[in-house]
């Protein structure tokens, strides 16, 4: 059984907590220790951002994280090495890579699929890659290697597209709760509840919710209606403002607070 499926199965009725961090931020050396610390604090899955020079769907916080990482020489190859290194100590926690298509396109779909399989990556979310654009080539490689393609749904996604996207997705689907870039606005919990019901009509896959979850309070609300809560900009913002030597304490503390609120 895949790590992702196993993870949601083990959780039963508890909602998964998925922190997002950008690989190489604040430094490449701290990424793997941070991943372990997040798991210890209650993360069930880790979304690891592949830095990109032109992160079109991200707000300033994650843009700056990408810039910091690239400034220290991060590459897709190094991101994959980090996952490998993470696996030495942790063979259970699923790792989903999240990023933009160009680094993968330039590496080549076949090579990427092989390398990601070697590194035991569990899922891949390409922000600017709607399922319509998946060529036969890239689909073959991803499927052959049992890496879950994870797709986004948004407030503007029509019922027909929800159905279509869910038919192409695996692992979980990621509902973008606000119209906007990462870290922009607060989400509206009422419309979210309705949307979850609508999506569930079309899929049995777990539904993760991200964008607009800023703290323990909003995470707790979202946890009541979703299968997974994704926290990105709030965490990356904390990385930005925390002195590096305090990060391995403060990050887990922040996540623990969220985990606690979600479980209560």
């Amino acid at each position: 059984m895949s790590r992702l499926r196993n993870c949601f199965k083990k959780l039963k009725n508890r909602t998964a907590l998925i922190p997002f961090i950008t690989a190489g931020d604040p430094t490449p050396e701290l990424t793997v220790p941070l991943m372990h610390a997040l798991v210890e604090a209650g993360a069930n899955i880790i979304e690891l951002g592949i830095p990109f020079s032109d992160p079109m769907a991200d707000g300033p916080v994650i843009q700056r994280a990408s810039e910091r990482a690239l400034g220290q020489g991060m590459t897709l190859v190094k991101v994959l090495q980090m996952v490998k290194e993470f696996r030495i100590k942790d063979n259970d926690t699923p790792v989903v890579l999240m990023g933009y298509l160009n680094p993968i396109e330039i590496m080549g779909y076949k090579k990427f699929a092989q390398e990601a399989e070697n590194a035991e990556v569990d899922g891949i979310l390409r922000v600017d890659f709607p399922p319509e654009e998946i060529t036969t080539e890239s689909r073959t490689f991803i499927r052959a290697n049992a890496m879950s393609p994870i797709f986004l749904l948004s407030p503007t996604t029509t019922p027909e597209r929800i159905k279509y996207i869910c038919s192409k997705a695996n692992g979980y689907v990621y509902y973008v709760a606000v119209k906007g870039v990462t870290g922009s606005a607060d989400l509206d919990i009422d419309s979210l509840t309705d949307k979850m019901a609508e999506i569930r009509k079309y899929t049995k896959l777990p539904i993760g919710v991200g964008f607009g979850i800023k703290d323990a309070k909003s995470a707790a609300k979202v946890a009541k209606v979703s299968d997974a809560v994704i926290v990105g900009s709030a965490l990356v913002g904390l990385i930005e403002t925390t002195p590096q030597e305090q990060l391995l304490e403060k990050m887990p503390a922040f996540l623990k607070e969220i985990r606690l609120a979600m479980d209560s």
Partner: protein
């Protein structure tokens, strides 16, 4: 991956396909939130093309507001000095606001009005597209925000002030390389957050489908007029077409109505900056490779890790790491030849045209002129070259003065 010799012109004219692909190029590579707005735009655009009221309004504004048709001007003195082909200039610089960008801005603003949108946003490099968008926003009584890289704001201060006079808000973009590509990222981010009331007027033939096709169709008026005008002035169609290529909207506008005429040679001229070998240029078709940026697959300036490389050109309007996907397709099929000229060559052509013809060209257009200067002497006097003079050079006088050590 060239697909040379396989070009079926009829087929070319049918492109893009329904998903916006020109061969392997183009497409829709955006975050999910924009998929439905793009679909709505595509439907509205396709409907507008068969709506006689819409087309009448567009033609009315192109004539009375923009000043079309733009003249086709025989550059006699320059032709004589070069001693070869007859050179004609398509005077897009004489359009209202001083460049070809207004053709597309009027078209998209009318579409925005038709779709009930009340706010226009745009990205701009040289400022010409920003000015065009601010202009149509004023004309149609809409709110307007223009994103511009802070580097470009420095080198195009006149256009920034023009936009503000027209009532637009100019937002400086401080991320990445602080130029056109970053302004496009920022405009996309704005659009994602404000899709309900906002229409994003992309200024070039790039971006996700339907933009490359839509902007091309609004700019193709350049080539349609040129066909008629060369027949009247010279008695036959031109032999050679030359246009500069950044994103490529003025070039596709000139080329598109001639694609079926396989005996016409077409040159798209990219910015070689300080030279292709130096790496400091903006010539993805000459020195880049296919990748994904800004919603489409096309030739890009990208490193081996898939990061977008910073570009360099004397001309802000050409300082872009990608290019319209249809140009990528036309390169691979061999229908259009893509060449590059350096900053210095463009600057020389800028001075040449200013002194010899009394026409001050934009630095963007000066790239096309520089290539014309290279090939015209080798062509027979009966041959006709049409160069797209895509914009006027007034906006560039500070850049030119700086390069010559003059403070204005």
């Amino acid at each position: 991956m060239p697909i040379s010799n396989l070009l079926n012109i009829k087929n070319t004219r049918k492109l893009p396909d329904e998903h916006g692909h020109f061969g392997i190029y183009g497409g829709i590579f955006v975050a999910e939130t924009l998929m439905q707005p793009l679909k709505e735009l595509q439907i509205a655009y396709e409907e507008s093309l068969t709506d006689s009221d819409f087309l009448a309004e567009l033609n009315h504004d192109l004539h009375y507001f923009v000043g079309r048709p733009s003249p086709l001007y025989h550059a006699k003195r320059w032709s004589q000095q070069l001693g070869g082909a007859k050179i004609y200039l398509k005077r897009e610089d004489l359009n209202h606001t001083g460049a070809h960008k207004i053709n597309n801005a009027v078209g998209q603003a009318l579409l925005a009005k038709r779709m009930g949108k009340t706010r226009l946003i745009a990205e701009t490099g040289a400022g010409q597209h920003g000015v065009a968008t601010a202009t149509v926003a004023a004309r149609f009584g809409m709110k307007c925000t223009v994103y511009m890289g802070s580097e470009d704001i420095k080198r195009q201060s006149i256009n920034v002030y023009r936009m503000r006079l027209l009532g637009a808000e100019v937002r400086a973009v401080e991320s990445g390389s602080k130029t056109l590509k970053d302004a496009l990222n920022e405009a996309m981010r704005d659009w994602v957050a404000n899709v309900d009331d906002t229409f994003y007027i992309i200024g070039t033939v790039a971006g996700p489908h339907p933009y490359p096709a839509m902007v091309r169709d609004f700019q193709a008026v350049i080539g349609r007029e040129t066909r008629q005008q060369t027949k009247v002035l010279a008695g036959h169609l031109p032999n050679v077409l030359i246009a500069c290529v950044g994103g490529g909207s003025n070039a596709i506008g000139l080329f598109y109505p001639f694609l079926d005429n396989t005996d016409i040679t077409m040159y798209g001229v990219e910015a070689a900056g300080e030279g292709l070998k130096t790496g400091r240029h903006a010539a993805p078709l000459n020195a880049g490779k296919p990748g994904i940026l800004h919603g489409n697959r096309t030739y890009l300036m990208t490193d081996d890790d898939g990061q977008i490389i910073e570009t360099h050109s004397i001309s802000a309007g050409l300082d872009y790491p990608g290019v319209g996907p249809e140009h990528a397709w036309l390169k691979d099929t061999g229908r259009v030849e893509y060449v590059a000229v350096t900053d210095d060559e463009a600057l020389t052509a800028f001075h040449d045209l200013t002194r010899i013809e009394g026409i001050m060209p934009a630095l963007e257009s000066s790239h096309a002129l520089a290539y014309c200067k290279k090939i015209a002497p080798n062509l027979d006097k009966k041959q006709i070259i049409v160069v797209n003079l895509s914009g006027r050079g007034d906006k560039d006088i500070h850049t030119v003065a700086n390069l010559e050590g003059i403070t204005i």
